[in-house]
Symmetry: D2
Subunit: 274 residues, 4 copies
Amino acid sequence: MTQSHTDADKVRHWWRTSIIDMEPGKIAFRGHPIQDLIGNVSFPQMIWLMVAGEMPTADQAALFEAALVAGVDHGPQAPSIAAARMAATCGVGLNNVMATAVNMLGDVHGGAGEQCAELYYGIATLMDEGTDLDQAVRDGLDAWRAEHGKIVSGFGHRFHKPVDPRAPRLMELVRGAADKGTVSGRFAEIGEAVQAELGRQRGGRPIAMNIDGATAVIFCELGFPAPLSRGLFCLSRSVGVLAHGWEQMGQGGRNKGPMPPEYLPLYEAKEDDR
Amino acid sequence: MTQSHTDADKVRHWWRTSIIDMEPGKIAFRGHPIQDLIGNVSFPQMIWLMVAGEMPTADQAALFEAALVAGVDHGPQAPSIAAARMAATCGVGLNNVMATAVNMLGDVHGGAGEQCAELYYGIATLMDEGTDLDQAVRDGLDAWRAEHGKIVSGFGHRFHKPVDPRAPRLMELVRGAADKGTVSGRFAEIGEAVQAELGRQRGGRPIAMNIDGATAVIFCELGFPAPLSRGLFCLSRSVGVLAHGWEQMGQGGRNKGPMPPEYLPLYEAKEDDR
Amino acid sequence: MTQSHTDADKVRHWWRTSIIDMEPGKIAFRGHPIQDLIGNVSFPQMIWLMVAGEMPTADQAALFEAALVAGVDHGPQAPSIAAARMAATCGVGLNNVMATAVNMLGDVHGGAGEQCAELYYGIATLMDEGTDLDQAVRDGLDAWRAEHGKIVSGFGHRFHKPVDPRAPRLMELVRGAADKGTVSGRFAEIGEAVQAELGRQRGGRPIAMNIDGATAVIFCELGFPAPLSRGLFCLSRSVGVLAHGWEQMGQGGRNKGPMPPEYLPLYEAKEDDR
Amino acid sequence: MTQSHTDADKVRHWWRTSIIDMEPGKIAFRGHPIQDLIGNVSFPQMIWLMVAGEMPTADQAALFEAALVAGVDHGPQAPSIAAARMAATCGVGLNNVMATAVNMLGDVHGGAGEQCAELYYGIATLMDEGTDLDQAVRDGLDAWRAEHGKIVSGFGHRFHKPVDPRAPRLMELVRGAADKGTVSGRFAEIGEAVQAELGRQRGGRPIAMNIDGATAVIFCELGFPAPLSRGLFCLSRSVGVLAHGWEQMGQGGRNKGPMPPEYLPLYEAKEDDR
């Protein structure tokens, strides 16, 4: 090999990927020519192929699709959606509007599903090591809380009380998929055991499983690593972001603030200010 | 109405939306309770409902889905994907990685579909006014170029020569949908007439329709306004962004630059620098 | 030259720059070793050197500095600042908080200074061609409005009536700098002539010069190209963004929405929704 | 208080701030009318006032300014700068270009100063509790590494060996400020003791203090909380981001990728791909 090859190869290797193979006139993803995918696989199948590297069955993709549908939006009260709508009045492109919102789906706003998946996987690992379900749930919750704090991601909702309408429907689909053998049903069992244990710890007051708790069940059943949950949620929520940004562009406005312009933020002087 | 209601109402009205209706325990999108959508509509149907406000037929959604599948990725040579992979090594969340890339899908990198849709709609308007197809294509191209410049978005590709493998497959699906009566086929005709005219203007050298030209045909056939094309492309490309960001996290690295660290940018002194 | 050099050189040339020259143990900006700059030049001088490529005099830098100080913040009513404060409660880094806000300083929210500088430079060009001031102002306004619309960037303020307190102070400094010979004073004259003409066009009702109109005078006096105005404004406003993001982190909160959680966005059903 | 006041007040209180006080014709920051600040305080003083809430002395501001000057840029090899330059060719605004880069200054790329300040403050706390300097350095390093890992932020540089030219100059200024009584000099002592200890732990091979280690000394000497270090670094680095984005706009290009277009990323097929 000449030195010339070495330089070019180093640069090419720096950007190596197993996702896409390109030549002039050829595009293949994970080994599938693009023209064989277009019109033959669903968008959720394509998402799965791209992210996980293999093609899911139709039944797997259907359960995956339900989770993607469930998370698209929760309205302008959410900071990400509000920011997208404000950005849409600031003279930036629709892509910038979308990026503004997705950028805010951080550990607190968009990370609950990932954290909940970590909890479920932790409990499953304890069970693999021989602990029974109830004990694994208690130990798993203790370990999770030592890292993440008291509030358990995936359960409870400050607004949807007593029930988040998305969770029971998603769990119904998981059970159906387990009956068909598409998934094992193991994480549905874990999720519901966590919910029951949290209720016991609150002195018998039931607590709802929320959208993050339910989608984490699905992503765990389907074998996705926990950190991917946030990315998949971002894909799903991008739909609501686009819808709201676009609606705001139709409503018009310039430099839309968080409240009508006649209301001013309250100024609280500090004692040491002059 | 009391003054109290007025203040609260003003604030609520400031954030009004026709997309989502919420009460504790209730979420409805465009009038559809979320639990009726989950598991019953496809992800592309949900995207369409959220963005356009009405539910598409299964056939409409299938054509729409093909466009979403076609645009997911074009590899790390694209600045957006490269930036996402670099961001993935900088200690930010996966949502920030995704936002970094989507933020770069601006007029030049992500706007070609929108611009091409404007061209197609402009030609269609001329035809509505009585101009025949060939003349409308010539006049539409002239008008479009006066605003956007000489290079016509949606046609030609610096890499995929002579054919972008995504376009013929998408056009095949459009023609199939037109045969079934799902769409009119009018914009397929316009797109191909533009392609032919551009070839004539190049002295008979054929020019390829690229992914933007083909997806613009689909979005126009399905009735989406031109500016939405960019938003829909961002949704589609977010899939590749997530896949590449996630792959990079697996590859590791810290502060990945654009080339291996042993290559330094060339410094070009300016004469007036000291 | 061997082929080996060609590959490495091509890559290095791809990232060529005249800003920074680096070797192990050496960093020089625009020809100045960094250790000679630290402690010897002011931050505004450093900004100027980096962006414009040459070192300003102390007097030039002082006028430049006044513009940077003037634009740091306009409170949480501005969408960028509100978004930064919301982002600060979403579990992202302080850098992501800052980026969220700067990303929203688009054509409408952050572009007024740039547009106003274009107006001033356009008028100056007409004068260079022999038109007198008053006629150049009228013609320049006509030309600018044909491109940008009726509302003239840099004049009037929806909140600060009748006077934006930043503008007179900045103009006072410009006149002082003109008296010292630091700047020509030409753009101060143009800015005030535009202000007078706009008042005449409103039937004699005076209109304020706002912060964008005044900083544009300064940036034009100092010779910065119009598009840089937005970048310099972003640097200045980043200060307020950081202050507000940091204050919000101290106030706490999780997923701060645009209004207190007890107020819900108004749902406006569309007739065709089911 | 009427209910009417309650609603308006709740909304105003939701956006309360101690940074800015506004009325029509009035803007005051931290109690200072803006017209008294413009032309009378330096940009670094303004930054300090905004972020920390009080006005620094000229000597404090001078040391602060040196840190801001030192961090403006480290060239296109840094992922943030490379991303900014690529974004500048994608058809987005200069503000979006800047946001793209700042968004990437995360825990790994922009967080070293913050992490190093945590180390210094931890050591200072141990000394406040009675531990002597050398023991506090060893214990502080152990505690810090238990949380952050083996590589100590602020020391060593993969490129600048043996010396980062910015650090000695900054430390010289800190010692000068300590001689004048502007700062205590305590964190300079801690920083140098950490550097010496790290050298001992490497078997006597000296290790450089880098830009992050030196600016952390300054920010600690001046009393800034550790997390602010990242924000202040983002302000400083925004200067280089703007300079590079602007230079790239002048160089031109469309959709600039990470390497010249004739080099393609290497495709590495996975065994299970078809």
